[in-house]
Symmetry: C2
Subunit: 413 residues, 2 copies
């Protein structure tokens, strides 16, 4: 079953790579309309999944992620419309040059081929991911969490019909319906048909996939993000950045998880900052020096420095200047997004160069690490790996390139 | 032991990423000089390995690859000098833009970190690969074939001392000396310290590594390269291209392995072409139609269409026009380099778009797929995978990028 879907996707991918940008955009817009037109049927299918989840007493957070409502479906259809409006990456010439022997060489953007998406509870991923992959000329094989199987089946059915009506080749989107867990393992072996796997879900899923896949994986990792308040920081600015990075949306990967403060300003900065964070409901875990400055805090233990809380918890450390801050972040960080607040240009320059992360900031909140905020359009995830894609992954990262060489009979001597 | 080397490389990588282009170039030039100055000692170490290999009655081809001589050492040192002359990729700004909220965003080229090179008999890889990785600011962990352990140890020792003298951080190059095969397995698990694995060797080695590595792998694959002679080809040009692509160096991955000929020109083209190839010592294996046009040829069986011979063997197929040619190549090819010979612009355009390969040619020999020939400088291999690098991989492909964001206190609302 999995094999059949993968073969169908591979076959479709050859046709999809040749489809015009206009046809793709038209199909994506038709999908957006179809989602809205079929809202009632989609909600009915989703309610089946939600009822099952309630009966199985799954967690509230899980059921929240699983649930589709007007607002979320509207986000999905608007997301698709946004993707339709992006420039078509396929066929773009990255560079073109001529060799002394007259050979004309171009590096041209082409689709990856078939993208396998393995995702967990959120059924809207089926629409988001398909839109982005399709924009980049790729066929898709979707494997969603078994708890969302009714929602996913319905969503894919609606999207598939809209795409076919618009003239896309059959097999452009494929849904692996079985709830059998072994289907994932089977999928990860089909390197002959699937060109890349993108997991969308928690760290456990991602670790399982990276250690079992024969197919290259592009994954978004954890965001153990730091803000370092330098001795030369504008402390009022620092307060606003720290507050925003922690509070604005604590459950996402670009939220701040660790605050480092130079000891020269710690006594002035921390009492005000911690009071404000605590008033907003943040639990503070401090290093020894922090706990001397602000009494009554929990202790941050070694494990805290590695942890992505995704919650209203913050670990705070007082450091001996920039060197210790850089060393700490490069040791404990997850290479996602880290910021320095400083008015000192040399310290800023060193932080930007020496921190090993997908996104490094001076005087801004880490919350900006996002395709939309960066102005590169919708994203399929934020990669913390180094190969192929690093940081917000947009449609360009869903393509690869080929060399196109035009000659007049040149041979090698 | 393997772990210690990987940790040492990781530590060095942070310092290496900050080293100036001048220092790196100076170090690479010093390595080139040191190879030449220590030629006698290197040859002595190499002779030990060669004697061992002779005693073990290893194949002639293997012993040839293992042997270092004046010419090969000169190639290695000249290769390093060429790498020193390339532009420094590190710190290059790929793109820079401003957001409406004033955030200044740049995408900057940075080193990958630590590159693990796993290679087989050719000891010169130790010098070539280290030079390229170093140019891109990466530390290196080398694991060579056990049969070349004396040569590799000596080469790395010479390179390491030259680099340290030039001011590179200790640990910039690391050699795993043990001939114990389990060292490779151990190395492939160290994803905390090694950022990418590049195998240099045969398909068996590459398959072992891609199926066992937790670390992302960039590998060069097979080159089952095709030349398709279209009905609208200039047949004299086609003859020269086919002859060159097959004969000029048959043992390399960009040599032609398959010849497809449109049936409209097959009767005119094939007798002359095959006679010329046979005169040059090429064994021809033909499809049924080919064997009707030129009598006495061996039969090409199904397996032939998949095979990279790397030898003076060529399989020939007569096809019903461009569609069959494209279908055949996309089915049996290895996505390396494929060429069409034609004067028909539309057929050329279709071939370039529809063939799924790292390099696609019109009217030129496939033998040009090479970093030097493409004008992108020395290469560490030719990738047939799609992620991160496709086609000749130069120093740019040994880097990744990071987003650098400069603000004035921006927070997300």
């Amino acid at each position: 079953m999995v094999l059949k879907k993968a073969v169908s996707a591979k076959r479709a991918s050859f046709a999809l790579g040749l489809v015009s940008g206009e046809l793709k955009n038209n199909a994506i817009l038709k999908m957006a309309d179809a989602l809205e037109r079929n809202a009632e049927a989609i909600f009915r299918a989703n309610q089946k999944d939600v009822r099952q989840a309630l009966m199985q007493k799954l967690s509230e957070a899980f059921i929240d992620r699983l649930t589709l409502n007007e607002k979320r479906l509207k986000e999905a259809s608007e997301g698709l419309r946004q993707v339709a409006g992006l420039p078509d990456p396929v066929g773009a010439i990255i560079r073109t040059w001529q060799r002394p022997n007259g050979l004309q060489i171009s590096r041209v953007r082409v689709p990856l081929g078939v993208v396998g998406i393995i995702f967990e509870a959120r059924p809207n991923v089926a629409a988001d991911a398909t839109g982005l992959c399709l924009k980049a000329g790729n066929a898709v094989v979707l494997r969603g969490g078994s708890e969302a199987v009714n929602s996913n089946r319905k969503l894919v059915d609606v999207i598939n019909r809209a795409g076919l009506e618009a003239g896309l080749p059959p097999g452009f989107v494929n849904f692996i319906e079985t709830t059998d867990r072994s289907a994932v393992g089977e999928m990860l072996k089909l390197d002959k048909y699937i060109d890349v796997i993108i997991p969308r879900g928690g760290q456990k899923l991602i670790r399982f996939i990276t250690s079992h896949s024969r197919i290259p994986v592009i994954s978004h990792g954890e965001g153990n993000c730091h803000v370092y308040v330098d001795a030369a920081a504008d402390l009022k600015m620092a307060e606003e950045i720290v507050f925003n990075a922690k509070i604005q949306r604590p459950g996402v990967c670009n939220a701040m998880e660790k605050l480092l403060v130079d000891m020269q300003v710690a006594e002035k900065f921390l009492p005000v900052m911690i009071k404000r964070l605590q008033a907003a409901g943040v639990e503070i875990r401090g290093c020894e020096r922090t706990r001397k400055i602000v009494r009554g805090l929990k202790t941050a233990v070694e494990k805290d420095w590695y942890t992505e809380y995704l919650d209203l918890i913050l670990a705070v450390k007082v450091v001996y200047g920039l060197d210790e801050a850089i060393k700490h972040i490069n040791k404990y960080g997850s290479r996602h997004s880290d910021a320095i607040v400083t008015e000192n240009r040399e310290n800023a320059r060193r932080f930007l160069r020496e921190i090993d992360a997908a996104a490094v900031y001076v005087n801004a909140s880490t919350r900006f690490t996002d395709g939309g905020q960066f102005g590169i359009g919708a994203e399929i995830g934020i990669s913390t790996q180094k190969l192929h894609a690093r940081g917000p992954m947009g449609v360009d990262e869903l393509t690869c390139s080929k060399f196109v060489i035009q000659g007049e009979g040149q041979v090698r001597t």
